[in-house]
Amino acid sequence: MRARLLLLGLMLTAPSLAAQSSMFGVRGLGLPGRELSARALGSDGAIGLFDPESSLNPASISGLGVLTAGFALTPDWRTWSSPAGNASLRATRFPLAYVGGPVPGSRLSLAIGFASYADHDFALASVGTFSPRGQAVTYYDTLTSTGGLSQFRFAAAYRLDDATTIGAAAYAITGSNRVITHRYFSDSSYLPILQRTEMSYAGPGFSLGLTHRFSSAFSGALLLRSDGAAKLDIDSTRVGTIDLPYTFGAGFTYRASRKLQLAGQGIYQTWSGANSDLLALGGVGSVNTLDVSAGLEFTPDPRRPTRHPLRFGVRYAGLPFPLEAGARAHEFSIATGTGARFARGRGGMDLGLQYAWRSDGSARKERALLLTLGISVRP
């Protein structure tokens, strides 16, 4: 019981519920979160719509055979190169936390959890000149944002029969950014600028999910999600709303052999719905995104499928918020992972390792190494 409380406490007091950070997440709402567990990230998301520990598909929580709590921890190391310069970056996030399981004596499963919706952590340093009095003055800017949007999910899944499960989830999307801008001048006659604000967001969301086993080898999953408009407040003053996207997802798993399972999924998000709102606020806008991943899970010992499985995956995804108008940012990544159960299956640990290449067709490029550690407890 003490260990259970300890892990639950750790989950609830996690310092940040953001996903990976990226320089391609400085615009708009940031870099969208992936709501995936370490297990799903080991296949780069290919099994995400089926993974009960991920927060993507509400129907998938029926896969939690017993009451389960868990969280994920993701440190990342990135290199950023742009015409303005290069940088080595690092951050650590807690992108996922959940508690869920079946309702005893019923076909119903319930889960609650937090997950990152969009990460907006960055610090930009730039140099420029201006000539307010006819004489050029160099200035040094730092724009720092910490925070992002998180989602609180309440999900329910109902197993219609042995093959089909449907699910639904409601989301409260909320979060805040603390933004600080600092400007120094080379001419000490000019006093530094220091301004700060807090931007807060709040919006609802709702999703429906389905998993269906077509045969002993082939299963499919569907996801439909609608997020409402996020209200944007700056220092407690309403400045506008930003439409959040519809999400359409489909995936499959195919058991090619007793030891090998193949999987794939695609997620389409209508982020362009936010475009007009972002443009109205003076931003660059947003575009729809397609996120496609494929992977496999190799189980060395089919009798003990949770003992050191090997996962691999590849992924291509568009990024919704371009840094500049007309740019189309995307990322390509490869991933691997494994996991283990111990304490007679009560404890679990999964590892996912991703390497991502991000670019937008210009000289701006980012490479990221992400290590995701997932801890789960089944009391």
Partner: protein, 400 residues
């Protein structure tokens, strides 16, 4: 369960350790690649018409840090005087008592604070003055006493000396010139005038500066048998000092005068527009004062103009605060616009509890230098005082 306990510790440690490690700062081409947006504007405000004026009488001669002495300097013709605290007729001998003494020698000292180093052959003349000379004396009174009959001696100032202690030592028969009558009660008054190869002026440290002020040191032999205790000295500082000017200039009411002696100050008032008053961040504020003519003074002397904020606007008697604009150096003969940087001061005019939008302009050192710059006012047909403000509106945080 035991294994779960084993697991909890490293998880917590790892979470805490990794959670502390962040490096998020990256270079960027802003504003193209950056959210938000910072704009900076520049505007010029005129002083409130008719609300600027000069007032005289803040620091009187001798109340400042310097005593002015000059010889045919166009800026001002001045003579200085010092009356020392009384010298007692006995000296205290340690381990003994007060003893009578005889004077071996006397040193008269003054500190040179400023001079025109381009003028060579400077000499400072020390005169003994009657005790009737005081702060009420006129230039004619003092100048009349600085005659050869009262001359103690002079000190030739090295052409390379810019600042330093001047020391005149009198001994032997020269001490007769410093003898006291019973009516003197040990009080000595001396006056200064100077001469050089060209008209010039100097500033001597006044008694207000403390130990660098004028000094009167008597080296005496005490009437004691112990020869080791016979040699004593008595040091006296200024009880009163000052200087008098041949011409006391009265400020032109249509112009803004600062400095001089007695010193003048100018008050200038501005009203910030509402958009600056409320929400912008003032980055730079330059008060621009245009001299009505070449600034007079002592060439090569370091003089500055400063602006102070006003806590309550009571006109000439407005109490000033700790916020200072400038100070900015001015040069004798200069006619360029004087710009006083006072951004922090202007920031005190903003917000919900603003201080009055007024500044007091004064000269440093006040009541001490030869400079007396005169600037155009709002009543002048051109060259009125103005405030140039560079400011940044609120960062456009909502621009995503």
């Amino acid at each position: 369960m035991h294994r779960l306990r084993w697991l909890a510790a490293p998880v917590i440690i790892a979470a805490a350790f990794l959670g502390c490690s962040e490096q998020l700062t990256a270079p960027a081409n802003c504003p193209a690649e950056c959210p938000g947006g910072q704009t900076v504007y520049d505007t010029v405000l005129s002083a409130l018409p008719g609300s600027d004026s000069s007032f005289i009488g803040y620091v009187k001669p001798g109340q400042g840090s310097s005593l002015r002495v000059s010889d045919q300097l166009p800026a001002s013709e001045d003579r200085a005087f010092v009356r020392f605290t009384p010298r007692s007729d006995s000296v205290f001998v340690a381990g003994d008592s007060n003893r009578a003494y005889t004077v071996d020698s006397v040193a008269l000292e003054a500190t040179l604070q400023a001079r025109d180093t381009s003028v060579k052959g400077l000499s400072v003349y020390f005169y003994r003055l009657p005790l009737t000379i005081d702060t009420n004396s006129t230039f004619a009174d003092l100048d009349g006493e600085l005659n050869p009959a009262n001359l103690l001696d002079s000190v030739a100032v090295s052409d390379t000396l810019i600042q330093g202690r001047l020391r005149l030592v009198l001994s032997g028969s020269a001490l007769d010139r410093l003898s006291f009558t019973p009516a003197d009660s040990g009080r000595l008054a001396i006056g200064f005038r100077i001469h050089a190869l060209r008209p010039t002026g100097i500033r001597l440290a006044s008694g207000a500066t403390g130990t660098t002020g004028p000094g009167f040191i008597s080296y005496v032999k005490a009437a004691v048998t112990d020869t080791a205790k016979q040699h004593q000295f008595l040091t006296r500082g200024a009880a009163q000092d000052g200087f008098v000017s041949q011409t006391v200039l009265i400020p032109d009411p249509d112009l803004l005068t600062v400095g001089g002696s007695p010193s003048s100050r100018a008050i200038i008032r501005f009203k910030l527009p509402e958009y600056i008053q409320d929400s912008v961040q003032v980055l730079r504020a330059s008060l621009e004062l245009i001299p009505a003519g070449p600034i007079n003074g002592l060439p090569n002397d370091s003089v500055q103009v400063e602006a102070r904020n006003v806590l309550t606007d009571l006109g000439a008697k407005s109490p000033t605060g700790a916020l200072i604009g400038g100070p900015v150096g001015i040069l004798e003969g200069g006619a360029d616009t004087v710009r006083i940087e006072m951004a922090r001061l202007v920031r005190s005019w903003q917000g919900s509890s603003p201080l009055p939008g007024a500044v007091i302009i004064s000269l440093l050192p006040e009541g001490s230098s030869f400079s007396r710059p005169v600037f155009y006012s709002t009543r002048s047909p051109a060259g009125q005082p103005r405030l140039r403000i560079t400011y940044a509106p609120r960062f456009n945080f909502q621009r995503p």
